[in-house]
């Protein structure tokens, strides 16, 4: 039963990885990373139940809580870049 869900998740991980490798823009890759992260949360929950050690759900919980911080860091990174660009354009 758990295998159905795990196999679907694993195949989707492969598809997301393909998108991450193909690009074309950096943001497609960010999207793929984020999607890969949520799929990892699901995979870890399903495998924790499959192993019969439900106390290991802590791992999935950790990912569910902090996985999106990477995307926020990207937003901040782009914002800094755009700002610096704007400043140098104004000076020039």
């Amino acid at each position: 039963m758990y295998y159905v869900a795990s196999i679907a998740i694993l195949v989707t991980m492969a598809l997301a990885l393909a998108r991450a490798l193909l690009g074309p823009t950096g943001y497609d890759r960010v999207l793929a990373v984020n999607m890969f992260g949520t799929k990892t949360v699901l995979l870890l929950s399903v495998i924790a139940l499959l192993y019969g050690r439900a106390d290991f759900l802590d791992l999935a919980l950790a990912y569910a809580l902090i996985n999106f911080i990477g995307v926020l860091a990207v937003l901040k990174f782009v914002q800094q870049h755009a700002l610096r660009h704007f400043k140098t354009n104004k000076e020039a």
């Binding site: 295998y3 990373v33 495998i47 802590d58 901040k76 870049h81």
Partner: protein, 327 residues
């Protein structure tokens, strides 16, 4: 069946690794490293290493990405087409690869219970932990008590790395205060949705970090994972509100106190054991009952680890961020 999952994930891992090396844009390389970390954490979990997977999750998902992007913001993003000694490198790598693959044929098969690793001290740890220390998580017991000396060494490596980053990226005090607050350090305040959700989640992340810290004797967790998680939560706060606001909440001196205090606490517990008539880092003498002494010692030592890791990771984050604002 899970073995097959592991093999599938490892294949994806290899593809990702080659993608990282081939990426010309360093931003892309950093993003692919994020996927790499997720995959390897899942592999660790499938291979029964729940504690290690939790550490990789706590470190790889938040701190690593933020740190790499923080460094990338300070250097150029594009990699120049390589002119390095590629032929020579390939030859060296191929030769080494042959040697390593040849050596793997002597390795015991995956999961072989008769492998030499499982014959040495590990069975003793598994058998005696319940009697001597009485915590279910054997990893925590070995980390904090049986091999506490090793962990002390690792903690001082982290301590030293933190101090090193502080020295290398130090910003002169007048440069820090003289400049008017730029939008650079204002964070993501004007983005309503991340701000609301982030503010909601920061306490939960820190709370979960504390749970991992103090539940580490019973489930996967401990000081290293908790430190990374708490640091991630505070980094999220800093990303949303800007570094200046974050530093007003958790002041630089508090961070320094955490770094030094954690290392001191760990060493102090060791010395307390000596003063009470035991050996260095022998917790049995801390209380009248040896097992209760072990519990107290592990709790304090893990707390020290958590403090130092939190302090070091946050200091590193602020060091990179401060460098960006003076440029």
């Amino acid at each position: 069946m899970t073995t097959v999952f592991g093999i599938f994930l490892l294949t994806l891992l290899l593809v990702t690794a080659i993608g990282i090396v081939r990426a010309k844009d360093l931003f892309v390389a950093v993003m692919l490293s994020g996927i790499y970390s997720l995959q390897i954490a899942a592999v660790f979990f499938i291979l029964d290493a729940a504690d290690v997977a939790l550490t990789e999750a706590a470190v790889g998902a938040g701190v690593a990405a933020v740190l790499m992007l923080g460094a990338l913001a300070l250097v150029t993003r594009e990699e120049r087409p390589a002119t390095g000694p590629r032929r020579l490198a390939l030859a060296v790598v191929a030769l080494t690869a042959l040697l390593v693959v040849y050596a793997t044929f002597d390795q015991p098969r995956l999961g072989d219970p008769g492998a030499p690793v499982h014959q040495h001290v590990a069975p003793w740890y598994l058998a005696e932990t319940a009697r001597l220390i009485d915590v279910p998580n054997v990893v925590t017991a070995i980390l904090a008590s049986f091999r506490g000396y090793d962990t002390l060494g690792e903690l001082f490596v982290i301590f030293t790395a933190g101090i090193g980053v502080m020295f290398v990226l130090a910003v002169p005090r007048d440069a820090r205060n003289g400049e008017e607050p730029s939008i650079d350090s204002a964070g993501l305040r004007h983005h309503l949705i991340p701000r609301v959700v982030g503010r909601l989640l920061v306490p939960f992340i820190v709370l979960f970090g504390l749970y991992v810290q103090f539940h580490g004797d019973y489930g996967p967790g401990g000081g290293f994972q908790a430190g990374a998680l708490i640091a991630t939560g505070l980094i999220l706060h800093a990303l949303i509100e800007g570094e200046r606001a974050a530093l007003r909440v958790v002041h630089r001196n508090v961070l320094l106190g955490l770094i030094a205090g954690g290392a001191l606490l760990y060493t102090g517990v060791g010395i307390a054991g000596m003063l009470l008539g035991g050996r260095f880092l022998d917790y049995s003498v801390l209380r009248a009952d040896p097992v209760a002494g072990q519990h107290l010692g592990i709790l304090l030592v893990e707390l020290g680890v958590g403090m130092t890791v939190t302090g070091v990771l946050l200091t590193i984050f602020h060091a990179f961020a401060a460098r960006a604002s003076v440029r």
